[in-house]
């Protein structure tokens, strides 16, 4: 085996010449001057490196496109800062995902650009029902992207603040019945009143979302600490009021009476100011697609 030796000119001559050192491979007698060849190799290396730099930086900037082109923001977990602050402060670790008892929180993929690894909730498939009682995801967040109290310098909108701490129905009898949550994450809206069973004067019987629905929810009548599959908890209602009864927050939604076109008594859900936007109404709504939905990160407008 040949030694690697110091050639004395600051260049090392290894056993296998590196790809760039063309001068080492030139056949004997070839009249190729040494310096220009190295210069040429260095020039090529410089161009290659510049291309790499442009490529990597360009790609990292391309992550902005999905953020800029998003037609609506994702529903972020409770306690989330406003979208831009949220994307800055989230460290993409998923600790919020791990503590959620109903696995409502998912992480964004690379198609969301800078939203990669950032948590969101797809309420129709699995809403946050606050079955953790203490907003565990906020507690788990190591960077304050989810926070009980926003720092003063971060942005906020007037309609996001809740009038008072929401009362959790499940804890209504406890000494401290409120959730430590200062802002809503969205607000519910009866988007398709014509599809709403109550508006049609209809009741509901059976599994709210069918036999194949994987979502879970905490039912106080079953177990306070163990959420169960929604499909295992069938309902029977003369007038469908699932969005109202299953709402985990007190005074967030109620059934309002009105007179239908045929003169009969009808009902419709009325969203109230205490709505935090958790999405349980959207998840439980038995019609397809849901009649009531969450407007993600929307402020309350009276």
């Amino acid at each position: 085996m040949k030694d690697i030796t110091d050639t004395g000119d600051g260049k090392v001559r290894p056993n296998d010449p590196p790809e760039d050192s063309d001068e080492l491979k030139s056949p004997p007698g070839a009249q190729r001057p040494k310096v220009p060849v190295r210069k040429e190799a260095n020039r090529r290396k410089f161009i290659r490196t510049s291309a790499l730099a442009c490529g990597v930086i360009g790609l990292s900037m391309a992550g902005w496109l999905p953020v800029a082109n998003a037609t609506k923001t994702r529903l972020r977990p409770p306690g989330a800062l406003e979208e831009h602050d949220f994307l800055s402060s989230c460290i993409k670790c998923g600790q919020c995902v791990q503590v959620c008892p109903v696995a409502a929180i998912k992480l964004g993929d690379i198609d969301e650009g800078y939203g990669i690894g950032v948590p969101f909730i797809d309420a129709r498939n699995q809403a946050c029902d606050f079955s953790c009682d203490a907003v565990q995801c906020i507690l788990a967040c190591p960077t304050g992207a989810l926070t009980y109290k926003k720092p003063d310098f971060t942005k906020t909108r007037s309609g996001m603040k809740l009038a008072h701490d929401p009362i959790l129905k499940a804890k209504a009898k406890d000494a401290e019945p409120t959730l430590n949550l200062k802002e809503r994450i969205g607000v519910a809206r009866l988007a398709r009143p014509e599809a709403c069973l109550a508006v049609q004067g209809k009741g509901f019987k059976g599994q709210a979302r069918g036999a194949n629905f994987k979502g879970t929810m905490r039912y106080m009548s079953v177990d306070r600490w163990k959420p169960v599959p929604v499909k295992d908890h069938p309902y029977e209602r003369d007038v469908c009021d699932l969005c109202v009864t299953e709402c985990p927050i007190a005074d967030a939604i109620k059934l309002e009476e009105f007179v239908g076109p045929d003169g009969s008594k009808r009902h419709r859900p009325l969203v109230l100011e205490q709505c935090v936007g958790c999405g349980v109404c959207e998840m439980i709504c038995p019609v397809e697609p849901a009649a009531i939905i969450i407007d993600e990160r929307k402020e309350w407008k009276a």
Partner: protein
């Protein structure tokens, strides 16, 4: 001190320089090695013949790497709450641990540091100062392991002359580090995280596969067909962050001139061969030279050296023993 600054400069991208002066002992060794060529050659042959071919450090490292990553996975799957989170930030039995580069990105983008973020970052900082800085790369980073496997493929193809390694300027990584920091500061987005294969792989192992794995695969293909270990060598700012942290680390590889036959096997297996400049004949400034902070302490050189010239060393501890 001067040699420390020199080693940091090499980490940032400058070419290793021949030392200006040598210690008397090193000088003596250098001249001794030149004196009797035949003796030297026969000693070398002897060392070769008695070489213990081993993958001791590589195997240890792979086990540690796999276990630490799988601990995240099983902690979540089995709900044992040992190590919650991902590599970017986690809690080890309740104690916050936050990856230094991710923390830096978030701090620069968000411009607000809450107590938990500070505690987690400080803990990890001290942990990796103790454990060797870039040892994070080779002992923990999941991309390092996958890239190591694909590197094997790359070397096979190079051997068959199907592909060749296109090198970039190592200074590129320093520029990327500065640019990613500036972009986070200015845009308020943690832009590097979108591309970071470390974060992507860590999350994929814990929370399930994602489209982002496609990007990681493209990176690996780039490394197989175009440039050996390109991401770790020329791009990844995580490596430089930990490299800076490991500058003062007591854990390092120690080069011992008297055992070296200058055959260069170590440089061939090394991810960062510029840190092994002292193994070149006539380059070692002293008889014992610690390998610079860019070294990932992966131990491949320790495994491959036929004569034990490269060894793990803990500053202070080795002297005590």
């Amino acid at each position: 001190m001067a040699s420390m600054i020199e080693r940091i400069k090499v980490m940032l991208g400058s070419e290793p320089q021949k030392p200006a002066s040598f210690s008397p002992e090193a000088k003596e060794w250098h001249s001794m090695k030149r004196m009797n060529k035949a003796d030297f050659e026969s000693l070398k042959e002897h060392a070769r013949e008695h070489q213990l071919v081993t993958h001791k450090w590589r195997n240890r490292r792979w086990v540690v790497l796999l276990l630490s990553n799988l601990l995240f996975t099983f902690s979540f799957w089995l709900d044992i709450q040992m190590l919650e989170g991902a590599l970017t930030a986690s809690r080890f039995v309740g104690f916050h641990l936050i990856d230094l580069n991710s923390a830096l990105q978030v701090m620069l983008a968000h411009k607000h540091i809450i107590v938990n973020l500070f505690i987690g970052t400080a803990t990890v900082f001290f942990l990796w100062v103790l454990l060797g800085g870039r040892s994070f790369c080779s002992w923990v980073c999941p991309y390092h392991l996958v890239a190591e496997w694909f590197e094997w493929l790359h070397l096979k193809l190079v051997d068959k002359k199907i592909v060749s390694d296109h090198q970039f300027h190592r200074g590129a990584r320093t520029i990327f580090w500065v640019l990613f920091a500036l972009m986070a500061l200015i845009s308020g987005y943690t832009m590097f995280e979108t591309l970071s294969p470390t974060g992507i792989l860590s999350r994929a192992l814990i929370y399930g596969p994602s489209l982002a794995l496609g990007w990681v695969f493209l990176l690996l293909m780039f490394e197989v067909f175009y440039s050996r270990r390109a991401w770790c060598r020329y791009v990844c700012p995580i490596g430089l962050t930990y490299g800076m942290v490991g500058t003062l680390s007591p854990v390092r590889i120690m080069y011992r001139l008297e055992h070296c036959f200058h055959e260069g096997d170590c440089k061939k297996v090394c991810l960062v061969p510029h840190v092994l400049d002292m193994v070149v004949k006539g380059r070692a400034e002293h008889t014992h030279v610690p390998v610079g902070p860019d070294c990932t302490r992966c131990g491949l050189c320790v495994d491959v050296c036929p004569s034990g010239a490269l060894q793990f060393d803990v500053k202070g501890l080795s002297k005590m023993l």
